[in-house]
Symmetry: C2
Subunit: 200 residues, 2 copies
DNA sequence: TTTTTGATTGAATGATCAATCAAGTGCGGT
DNA sequence: ACCGCACTTGATTGATCATTCAATCAAAAA
């Protein structure tokens, strides 16, 4: 199988879906940008929806190399890692003038009644993200109260990221992102203080 | 001006945009559902986008009667009000099998490069929501640390709502909503405990 | 009564959409 | 040399899209 063309389609679709969304991206947008002809696209994919599936599978398979390794370069402390991850999205927002938010979050809200496979892939992408944050929390387990529900807090961090991006993008104001992250930081500090009290 | 037809169009569009989103709702969807003919729609609105503008203006104008009064029925305590508001979205999510999330949040993420007027209306809707929560926090100002940034916490509450809906809807799992709200509740309790320490 | 005005009707338009397909190309195997 | 097959080309299809418009209606104003 000629992987080059297939991959060119996926990479182009990844970018277009990210910036314009799924519905607003036409198949011919993908074709003209990727310099591929319609017959080739339909040779590899039964339809537009299957391109989306391939895109979501790629995000799922590349979370480590495409996101985490990049955001965590030079960061060792597990708690710092969490905020480094958030800061990655902040940087993207700023450097693209609020055009690039979270590709998964945007798609999740855009596709209201998605195919079960698509919903599952979206959920899986969220899940992997939460897993990564949960791992950080587990690494730092001795700094948090024993009773902490680490999974719930990891899900909470995803929520902050998505909500902060949504608000900052809508208002074109990075302050909305920063204040949200600051409140999260305050919460995490409070949890750590609580643990210190437990230890003493 | 015949307000009846115009209003029928807006109400129908409100519902369709909420469930299907803006792009996935065709003008003929609005026409057939509202039993209005295309000429009438274009008599009142220059185009589809102007229907969206009217919808967003309606949300903006009716936040009190359409959302707050409903969610806060029989709730007096300002802190309870915040969670009652969140619970309103939870109820909608459940009773519609995850079809109805937050209409503003969905539109905000779906419209990637919106007309400035639309972006402004989306921001205004978020802003009014945050204002309402901030007012609750001000009513309860004596229960929170003096240094509390009430605006930031109100924005944070909106973030939780949007993020929690996004995750619960994607996974079709209300647990994701509930756990997010529980973490927020934990944070607010911690803030209140902090205030008690200040007072003693 | 006649005119004016706002609202309605619904067929028609052209653009754009996702998807199709028959004809071709190039290459590895025999 | 020949074949088989994966891939490419690009014109074409039919559906659907937002929008237009001339004709019509109803009721108030003149």
């Amino acid at each position: 199988m000629n992987t080059a063309t297939r991959d060119k389609i996926i990479r182009t679709a990844m970018d277009l879906f990210w910036v314009k969304g799924y519905q607003s991206t036409s198949v011919s947008d993908i074709l003209s940008r990727s310099q591929v002809h319609s017959g080739s696209l339909y040779h590899f994919f039964p339809g537009k929806q299957d391109v989306l599936i391939a895109v979501l599978e790629t995000y799922r398979d590349e979370i480590e190399v495409g996101l985490l390794n990049y955001a965590w370069e030079g960061v060792d402390d597990p708690v710092d890692k969490i905020f480094a991850l958030l800061n990655g999205y902040r940087t993207h927002l700023l450097s693209t003038e609020y055009q690039y938010g979270c590709p998964i979050g945007s798609l999740a809200l855009e596709l209201h009644e998605p195919d079960p496979r698509i919903r599952e892939l979206l959920a899986m992408n969220f899940n992997n993200w939460v897993d990564a944050v949960e791992l950080c929390l587990e690494e730092a387990t001795d700094r948090f109260p024993e009773s902490l529900d680490r999974r719930a807090l990891a899900e909470f961090v995803l929520t902050i990221m998505e909500g902060a991006i949504m608000q900052a993008r809508t208002a074109h104001d990075i302050g909305l992102f920063d204040r949200n992250v600051e409140v999260l930081r305050g919460h995490i500090k409070l949890l750590m203080t609580q643990r210190e009290l437990e230890d003493s």
